[in-house]
């Protein structure tokens, strides 16, 4: 063995390494380029709307007067969806991962995944044609009995096509995302930690509180944020279900609008400054989604020391 045998390389292996690292680098750069391109497009196209005189923007009071009600509407719909979907999703995921007998668990997991495969236009049609009609008696009851709360102020919409209905439809759509991600995380809980809790005399629920949920916490937050991303950006279902209008506090009257539905409903017939306004609305949605993801990362990183990763 001489020194030269260490410096001689085997050509084929090195070439493979170079091709692979080049391909990986190119893929990484492509993602950044696409993201940058989209952001650039949004900003450039939005500038006319942001700089135009107030009177020329739809509504006649400038871009911010136009955008803020639909930003609020978007957030209301997304929050309703998450408030309904998160507890149900975590419950279903825990049932599948820790309570159900094995045969039932895999069947149920499959059904939940199937929910995610249904196109959003079908959810929209179901919400508009079926759910809205069936749920309007409940809205009447809410208006009569809980009407003192601003969010349930009457008179309830006769068609049931309200932001609450849209939120419920959205919750059904984000449910499978949160459920299947949470289930995967729950299943990854180390057996050692589960046994540690059980050996101390924990019941099954106490074991879940002591070992499964703390372990899964960052994963649950990520899953909820992915669900939130879908709820914020969902277009078709909201466009079909919601009978849109001005911003209203009551969730059971028609009114409110979301950014995505606003763009979808108005874009086909828009021209000139109107297109620019809608693209600026898209830019706002882009920023909201970005902010949501950054907040989620911050929440997760705050507890890094206790995550068990060390």
């Amino acid at each position: 063995m001489t020194a030269t045998s260490l410096t001689t390389t085997q050509g084929a292996g090195r070439a493979g390494d170079k091709v692979f690292s080049g391909a990986a680098l190119a893929a990484g750069c492509l993602i950044l380029a696409v993201l940058f391109g989209v952001a650039l497009f949004l900003v450039v196209q939005a500038i006319p709307a942001l700089t135009a005189p107030s009177a020329e923007i739809q509504g006649g009071e400038g871009f911010f007067a136009y955008i803020w009600p639909i930003v609020i509407g978007t957030l209301i719909a997304a929050v309703i969806a998450l408030v309904i979907a998160t507890p149900i999703a975590i419950g279903v995921a825990l049932f599948i991962s820790h309570f159900a007998p094995r045969g039932l668990a895999s069947g149920l997991g499959y059904v939940v995944d199937l929910l995610a495969a249904i196109p959003s236009v079908i959810y929209g049609a179901w919400g508009a044609a079926f759910l809205a009609k069936e749920i309007s008696p409940a809205y009447n009851w809410l208006a009569a009995n809980m009407g003192w709360l601003p969010i349930f102020q009457g008179p309830a919409s006769a068609t049931g096509k309200t932001i609450l209905t849209a939120g419920i439809v959205l919750s059904v759509m984000v449910l499978p995302i949160i459920t299947s991600l949470s289930r995967e995380i729950f299943l990854q809980t180390p057996k050692l930690h589960e046994e540690a809790a059980l050996a101390l005399g924990a019941t099954r629920w106490e074991m879940i509180k002591m070992s499964v949920l703390p372990f899964a916490r960052p994963g649950i937050i990520s899953a909820v944020m992915l669900g939130l991303g879908r709820a914020l950006g969902e277009t078709m279902a909201v466009a079909l279900v919601l009978s849109s209008g001005a911003l209203t506090a009551s969730l059971i009257q028609s009114g409110n609008q979301t950014i995505a539905a606003e763009i979808a409903l108005n874009f086909p017939e828009a021209s000139g400054l109107k297109v620019s306004t809608l693209i600026a609305a898209g830019l706002v949605l882009f920023i909201i989604t970005l902010a949501v993801n950054m907040i989620a990362r911050w929440i997760i990183s705050r507890h890094k020391e206790f995550s068990g990763a060390n």
Binding site: A196, L200, F215
Partner: protein, 259 residues
């Protein structure tokens, strides 16, 4: 607060598979009993039947009796949760709860069994348990730091502190030193010697020197071949088991002429 365990004619099954056959053994209170034997001979499985932890695996069941001071652990209406709160367990790999601080780890079991505990009582209990596990001096200044930041040996002693904080009758240890370095192992062995003043200790080990060092009595388990059930071959005073065992198989195993 320690009780004896008497096992009568115990068979352990996983589904239809008989894993451990016909074990009868009497484990004295306030003593250390070691289980030795080759891998797969069922000693860990048998240990886990002593606090019903084997039931975590689906299909696991037993026939026979395990008596804790005369009370059958497998009697009708006995809740495995209650059994486990009286018979603590330390595992092969240290498993402190990673999301909890050192202090919360020690209190984890206590909060389950006795939900309300004042801060003063908790402080006393944390100190007493950590001192009992010979860990107090090393961690007293960082009780609020995560338990997963400790070394492997410290983590294992934290797990022992967690187990003794609930004041169990018996402590089961499933190869507690197999993931530790020799110095940490020595610390745990010293601790086992102290624990037997108050607790009944049962330890599974692959290390025969360890069994000889820490235990009063030793049980040798063996298996006739793959797919056959594990059996208790011989049980006696540790000194006798290592110097003058009654069975040839035991002598072969402890002298290293196994196989």
């Amino acid at each position: 607060m320690s009780k004896r365990i008497d096992v009568k004619d115990l068979n352990v099954y996983y589904g239809d598979f008989l894993a451990v056959e016909d074990v009868t053994i009497n484990i004295e209170a306030k003593s250390v009993t070691a289980f030795i034997g080759p891998s797969g001979c069922g000693k860990s499985t048998f240990l886990r039947t002593l606090n019903r932890m084997h039931e975590v695996l689906p299909g696991a069941r037993v026939e026979g009796e395990v008596l804790l001071d005369g009370d059958n652990l497998y009697g009708a209406g006995v809740d495995p949760v209650t059994v486990r709160s009286q018979i603590g367990m330390v595992f092969q790999r240290p498993n402190p709860f990673p999301t909890m601080s050192i202090r919360d780890n020690v209190l984890a079991g206590v909060k389950l069994n006795n939900k309300k505990i004042s801060k003063g009582e908790a402080d006393v209990l944390v100190e007493r348990s950590l001192k009992g596990a010979n860990l107090w001096n090393e961690v007293k200044d960082r009780l609020d730091k995560p338990g997963s930041g400790l070394s492997g040996g410290q983590q294992q002693r934290l797990c022992i502190a967690r187990a003794i904080a609930v004041e169990p009758q018996v402590i089961l240890m499933d190869e507690p030193c197999s993931a530790l370095d020799p110095i940490s192992t020595l610390a745990i062995e010293d601790l086992i010697n102290e624990l037997k003043d108050q607790y009944t200790v049962v330890i599974v080990t692959h290390n025969m020197q360890q069994a000889a060092r820490v235990s009063d009595k030793t049980a040798f388990f063996n298996i006739a071949g793959t797919g056959k059930p594990g059996k208790l071959i011989e049980f006696g005073d540790t000194h006798t088991m290592f110097s003058n065992p009654a069975q040839k198989a035991t002598e072969d195993y402890v002298s290293g002429r196994f196989g």
